[in-house]
Symmetry: C2
Subunit: 134 residues, 2 copies
Amino acid sequence: MDSDALDAVRLLATRRLPGLVVTDQAGTPVTILPASQVVRLLVPVYVLEDPSLAGVLSESIADRIADKLGGKSVAAVLPKPPPDMTTVKVDDTIIEVAAIMARNRSPLVAVMGAKGIVGVITAPRLLEVALGSH
Amino acid sequence: MDSDALDAVRLLATRRLPGLVVTDQAGTPVTILPASQVVRLLVPVYVLEDPSLAGVLSESIADRIADKLGGKSVAAVLPKPPPDMTTVKVDDTIIEVAAIMARNRSPLVAVMGAKGIVGVITAPRLLEVALGSH
């Protein structure tokens, strides 16, 4: 939550992640920062409403990044309200994970063990495991 | 559109893609097959409505894959109605691509040149390029 927003976006970008799990100070996952939300943040509202106006934008993408992410916390750039965190348990079956992911339309779920988060499963990774058992 | 659905999902899974661009026979992109849609397809409707019922499901995930994807075309497993295809032009700027992606809430866009599709940009890839120019 209080990590640097620019560091978080660098992590999203360099690892090509669809989103990051955001935890509180105790390490409990509380929400997701989706890559799509960060893209939205970089686009001024009037350009979002009419993409043809992007051509007349005087700011560069670098300016937008500095303006929207520089010196901010992850908490400050989350969607309002932040998406619910979708979690599964380490002993859930693949079908249970698929059901929870599909029901919540979540691109990723956090996997919780007895001592907190132990990993993350994305939709393509779930399909990879499902096909492996085929 | 008429590719084998199981081959398409294998591609999604092994390349860990958030989705595939689906083209018609002429190679024109017409829609997206998102990984999340395939996950939905693998979950029976009654389990989608109540994930706790996943425990009593007699079918394995392998059975579900064979049942839902085996011998089917990509067209048969698309969401109804299929999502609009989001395209950008090769000479669009990063801000234009970001605006179009954000406006359509699309996890990926197809890039169109004079002779058809030349590539695909995902949200994390767009962020990678934007940060590179920072």
